[in-house]
Subunit: 254 residues, 2 copies
């Protein structure tokens, strides 16, 4: 089994190494990851500059590893189309991300967009995030990544569907279970911090705290609050089919 591993925290991130070690127990792991942190790049692809690729010869537990000066989506595209040319991966795992990818924020997530790219290219894909920034505990999330990869390969996923998984930063015995969830709505308060630079010019830092407005029990955020692993099946078709007739009824004239 060939596993393509990527992330958006960059090729030197601890979460990537932790999951690589676990996945190497069940298959051949190929790592293609950004050469630096790319958080919140969203589903960006690089079209205005060339991409450089450097092979990393000493990546522990990987068959091969490459660092790319692009986004996570670039990495998956480049891996499947060029770097693993003869060896199409059986699955893409993106992660383990340092920090959650929940609800509306998924739209901004490089971690999730890499998995979406995998699905667009026809490879079953999974995104895994750890829901803590401080003192991240990757051990159990790495074990769970191995469990879910094994399961996805056994069960299969429908076309155009991937799994977005968030795992609490806790040891096995403190995990309360697994919940299959939908993406909740997340909004932010106090979003920009306006500051003055030493020369008196204004600049803005994006900041703000999360306001969970969607605390229904079936959301991903609620699962995490309850120390559960959250698994959300997602797709990439943004069409709102149920609205098409309503717009047709407008009968716009030119």
């Amino acid at each position: 089994m060939k596993i393509l591993l990527t992330n958006d925290d960059g090729i030197y991130a601890d979460g990537l190494r932790a999951v690589c070690a676990e996945l190497a127990r069940i298959g051949e792991v190929y790592v293609v990851a950004p050469d630096r942190e790319m958080s919140a790049t969203g589903h960006g692809i690089t079209i205005h500059k060339p991409l450089r690729v450097e092979e990393i010869t000493s990546f522990p537990n990987a068959q091969k590893a490459w660092a790319v000066d692009g986004t996570p989506s670039d990495c998956v595209k480049l891996a499947v189309e060029c770097l693993l040319n003869e060896d199409r991966p059986d699955i893409v795992l993106s992660g383990i991300n340092r920090g959650p990818n929940l609800g509306t924020d998924v739209l901004y997530s490089g971690t999730v967009s890499a998995a979406i790219e995998g699905v667009i290219l026809g490879v079953p894909s999974v995104a895994v995030s750890l829901t803590a920034f401080e003192n991240p505990y990757y051990d159990f999330a790495a074990i769970f990544s191995r469990i879910i990869v094994t399961r996805v390969l056994k069960e299969g996923l429908p076309p155009d569907t991937l799994l977005n998984i968030n795992v609490p930063s806790l040891p096995h015995q403190d995990i309360a279970g697994i919940e299959v969830t939908r993406l909740g709505v997340r909004r932010y308060r106090n979003v920009f911090d306006k500051r003055m630079d030493p020369r008196g010019k204004t600049y803005y830092w994006l900041a703000g705290e999360v306001v969970e407005t969607d605390d229904e029990p079936d959301t991903d955020s609620m699962a995490i609050k309850n120390n559960m692993i959250s698994i959300t099946p997602i797709h990439f078709d943004l069409t709102r089919l149920d609205m098409m007739d309503m717009i047709r009824d407008w009968e716009i004239k030119l």
Copy 2:
């Protein structure tokens, strides 16, 4: 009526100016746009560096205009949260983009992501793209933008829904009509061009031609092929609700 206008081709793009002139006929237009071209940035937001904002005093037909050294999503966030502080916009229009935003490509689109950002912030939003890169003819797309903005404000849109509109680069008399569509699936062939730099090092350019695999009559691409305006209602909830039970049936054990 206050209209927030943005794009991802940058504040000096012709499409932005063309639509600004039309929208100024029905409301006060505030322009907050990237200071340079940001195509294919996807739904990126800038969190690792501060954002600079420069007021542009001479923008034709706008009440006020600002250039931001960030992504289209940054522009909308910054406009609504800071720059238009007292004056919440009644609608966000993102465009007119030079080039189509159809099907799966919408995920990579800065134009669409700016409109999604508007909807996340609770403002009705519309993305407008012209389906030609060469010799773009913006006049009719600008007129249609005015028509659709007027209509959206009259009819309203359901929460969390926006319109993704593609307009052929044609004069009024050659437009065959309006179609309400779903996003089609677009895939690419020959995706990377591998080259050698003058010092013998390899680099990759993202290239490739579109392969339309989804030529059903109700897709956005088919509407454009038929010289129709395509209107697709989209949302930002990627949850695949119909798959949740299937994953639950896996009964994963820890």
